[in-house]
């Protein structure tokens, strides 16, 4: 019966022995790479779910020892962490809005042939990638604008990435046919109306890529906050993490939480839990956005 139902298979050519061995080696190598990437992550996750005693004794490797959620309870009720989370959300959302708007606002005119001087402007933008004003002079500008120690310092000075402008410009230039501009023009649409009603609805993939790039940047960066912010209430999550994880100190003045935790032997587990808690949002959405990210990298690789 099954013989009757068997579909005629294309005659499969068995690969030569050498190739099959080679393929096996390749698979082994990939498995090794996979494990090399996974091992540190597993170590962190396993520790975060272990009891404080087990962590402090260094007994945890890649599987939780004496399973416990205590570290997460402490991490998620810590006021600094929550404040950092809240701040980072603000920076990510508002920063992304500002960045995407400004990037489109410059990339769209630069993609239009009717925009006089676009090559000069593009060259001037690219030059800023080759030669930067430097840390101190930029700091002086931010200082002169009165942005030091305000939320604006994290939202404005790094708002536009030249790389993102190139990606957006290339996208507009390559995927919006000239005929559409002509049609819009004949219908009497102004340039801004054309952008809003014709170009942007066709550019959703681009907007997604830009938004993702800027959001991840805002979520993960700490440099601007380190340089421009002093007020702990404005600190984004990454600075809070740095202070707690790397400098190993909690905020002075805050109820001596550190001592309390030390007594509970929790401080070290807390670190593992914090790593998980802070990276989780990005790692959870990452499988859905990786494709777009890749696309973005590729679009940018095509010169406009």
């Amino acid at each position: 019966m099954s013989l009757l139902l068997a579909r005629p298979r294309p005659a499969k050519v068995r690969e030569p022995l050498g190739d099959r061995i080679f393929l096996l080696v390749v698979k082994l190598m990939l498995t090794a790479m996979l494990l090399a990437v996974l091992a540190p992550l597993a170590f962190i996750v396993a520790n975060s779910f272990s009891s404080a005693e087990a962590v402090n004794a260094g007994r945890v490797r890649f599987w939780p020892v004496e399973f416990s959620l205590h570290a997460y309870q402490v991490a998620l009720t810590n006021s600094q962490v929550l404040q950092g989370y809240y701040n980072s959300l603000i920076y990510a959302v508002v920063g992304t809005l500002i960045s995407v708007t400004l990037t489109v606002a410059i990339a769209y005119p630069l993609s239009r042939r009717t925009f006089f001087g676009r090559n000069v402007i593009m060259t001037l933008l690219i030059f800023t990638m080759l030669f930067s004003g430097g840390l101190i002079p930029t700091y002086m500008v931010v200082q002169n604008l009165g942005m030091l120690n305000t939320r604006w310092a994290l939202l404005i000075p790094g708002a536009i990435g030249v790389w993102q402008v190139i990606i957006a410009r290339t996208f507009f230039a390559n995927s919006i046919p000239d005929e559409l501009y002509e049609a819009a023009m004949l219908d009497g649409a102004s340039e801004i109306r054309t952008l809003r009603s014709v170009v942007l609805p066709l550019s959703k993939p681009l907007l997604a890529v830009l938004a993702l790039m800027y959001t991840i940047y805002q979520w993960n960066t700490y440099f601007d906050a380190l340089v421009y912010l002093k007020d702990p209430d404005l600190f984004p999550l990454q600075i809070v993490l740095r202070n707690m994880l790397i400098l190993n100190s909690t905020r002075p003045g805050a109820v001596d939480l550190a001592q309390q935790l030390e007594q509970m032997q929790l401080v070290s587990v807390l670190r593992y839990a914090l790593i998980v808690v802070s990276s989780l949002p990005v790692l959870l959405i990452y499988p859905f956005i990786a494709r777009h990210f890749t696309k973005g990298v590729m679009v940018g690789a095509v010169k406009g």
């Binding site: 005119p109 002079p137 002509e182």
Partner: protein, 326 residues
């Protein structure tokens, strides 16, 4: 076209459409002078300029004004007098810098770290991409790609924290304090970076491999070429242009090596090798408040970087026939 449309047409459109296939709408039948072109573009498309105004202002304020503020590298900056009013000191800051024994260490640390990073981070993504390219699409391939790509999305702070925890003598997997050993700093920096970016960097090679004509592989197979031979004679030459560009870009970015990670991995014990130019600029300028000196160091770095990039672009042109940018 112009006569059949019911809409009123501005005269500019009519003469903008020459007979013939040309789609360049700003080149009419008669080529106008650039000035006339500019005026016409301005009149007709003023909204484009309006859109661009704010971003252009952004670039002027946050990119070009700082470039001008670099004058304080040649001055004795005083916050009261401002960058323009401060007193000129000529090249004194640079003389001080170059005669400071710290400078050579800084330069060496920066260059060695960056070159090590470029060389170590170069082959692994290629290896990964070629290996992935060899196996059939399926769950294994997808899993490897997903997992190796993931660390790219983890922040520097977290990667450094993980490194510290993994290498801590108390709870980690080694028994000596490697982070306190200056000699280990570079290895830790570079290999944690490879761990984080290999999967991401492989993507560009995967794309290059996907662009190779399958007919080449088919005919090689018919000729009896083994997988290894096909990799050597088809895949490697196929990704060579991409690889050259990546390598050259890496070298060109030597001086632009990041502040973020080095600063986080630094401690008092490993400073002998972990102090690089960007971290030195930060400490001199913002912690010790010596703006002029810090700017001088930063300016030196930017200028060297610019020349490196130009040299590298020249090299890329010679090798691939194409520059990195136009």
């Amino acid at each position: 076209m112009a006569t059949t449309t019911p809409h009123p047409i501005p005269p500019a459109i009519v003469d903008q459409r020459p007979a013939g296939p040309s789609r360049r709408s700003d080149v009419g039948p008669i080529r106008r002078s650039r000035w006339a072109q500019a005026q016409r573009s301005w009149r007709q498309h003023w909204q484009l300029y309006l859109l661009a105004a704010v971003p252009i202002a952004y670039f002027v304020i946050f990119k070009y004004v700082p470039m001008a503020f670099n004058v304080i590298a040649f001055k004795d900056y005083s916050p009261v007098l401002g960058p323009w009013g401060s007193e000129w000191v000529g090249l004194r800051n640079f003389e001080l810098l170059f005669s400071n024994p710290v400078f050579l260490t800084l330069l060496k640390n920066t260059v060695v770290l960056a070159v090590y990073l470029v060389l170590a981070a170069f082959p692994i993504p290629i290896l990964l991409a070629i290996a992935l390219n060899e196996i059939r699409n399926g769950w294994f391939k997808r899993t490897v790609q997903m997992v190796t790509y993931a660390p790219y999305f983890i922040s520097t702070v977290v990667v450094v924290s993980m490194t510290i925890l993994l290498l801590s003598p108390r709870s980690g997997i080694v028994s000596t304090n490697l982070l306190g050993e200056p000699d280990y700093f570079r290895h830790i920096y570079v290999w944690s970076d490879v761990w984080q970016t290999a999967g991401y960097s492989a993507v560009i090679y995967m794309a290059a491999l996907a662009g190779i004509d399958p007919a080449l592989h088919e005919s090689a197979k018919i000729d009896g070429a083994s997988r290894l031979q096909r990799i050597r004679h088809i895949d490697l030459p196929g990704i060579m242009p991409t690889a050259v560009i990546v390598l050259i870009l890496g070298v060109g970015n030597t001086m632009a090596i990041g502040f973020e990670k080095a600063y986080l991995l630094q401690n008092d014990l490993n400073l002998a090798q972990s102090e690089i130019i960007p971290t030195y600029v930060y400490k001199t300028g913002l912690i010790n408040a010596d703006f002029s000196m810090a700017t001088a160091v930063g300016l030196f770095n930017s200028v060297v970087n610019l020349f490196l990039l130009l040299a590298v672009n020249f090299a890329a042109k010679r090798v691939t026939g194409k520059g990195l940018w136009r």
